[in-house]
Symmetry: C2
Subunit: 134 residues, 2 copies
Amino acid sequence: MATDSLSIGDLARTTDTKVETIRYYERTGLLPPPPRTSGNYRAYGGEHLARLSFVRRARDLGFSIEQVRALLGLADQQHLSCEAVDTIARERLAEVDRKLADLAALRRELASLIGQCRHGTIAECRIIEALAPG
Amino acid sequence: MATDSLSIGDLARTTDTKVETIRYYERTGLLPPPPRTSGNYRAYGGEHLARLSFVRRARDLGFSIEQVRALLGLADQQHLSCEAVDTIARERLAEVDRKLADLAALRRELASLIGQCRHGTIAECRIIEALAPG
DNA sequence: TATGCACCCTGTAGCAACTACAGGGTCAAG
DNA sequence: CTTGACCCTGTAGTTGCTACAGGGTGCATA
């Protein structure tokens, strides 16, 4: 492939993304369709790399595809106030906090269950018992 | 419906499960198909209620459908050692611990991002900047 | 020159674990 | 005898990918 552009495989390796995922992002409009070579191969430039990196980082932080789409849209509106960005990020933070609390509660329950195991037969298993009360 | 049996709607209300979910559990073999009334309505008894409660509790603790299936299978083998049960529960606990650690790390990153927001325009937004570095 | 191999293309189906219809049947009350 | 709440089956949608199948491209090597 030409020196100044990346094949989809190159882009995949560079951003630690599967080739299929990149095509999926293109289908769903997260990434713009790149130009094609004469052989119909996708030829990516630096702006595609930047955009995909953005998407990956946001996804790694757990933003949903729709949130990423919103963030990308905002990123292009340089003159706007960054309040909307802040709002999306805070929403995500609240979500993370909820999940952390849920998981922590769940962990306590699970650990208590396991702590009750007396290593006998299933007939006297406290874990099974705890799952199936009357 | 007869006094001694529950309609799918009754069962759904009692266990806080959607009707469709109950049918889904039946399709996938988590719940045994109940007898039917003359009008072809499902008629559940106490054992179905117990089994669905078990499933719901296990699912609420985050066990996968396959893990629940395994637990149900074990619950019926009263003479076996409860080691296998313990193993499944410990696996789940390890999973929860991994997720807690991941989420906590993610929370730190997110909070640091948000903390950097200076409430200006998007052009100078630290959040956008942090997502799209060179 | 042939041919092998890695890579690319499109399109579709599958994963978990539900959820939401569409298009019908059943049943008790008014 | 009709209304409305409930039930039935079957299928498609959700999220975010992932995995083929069945082909084309492009470069190096025998």
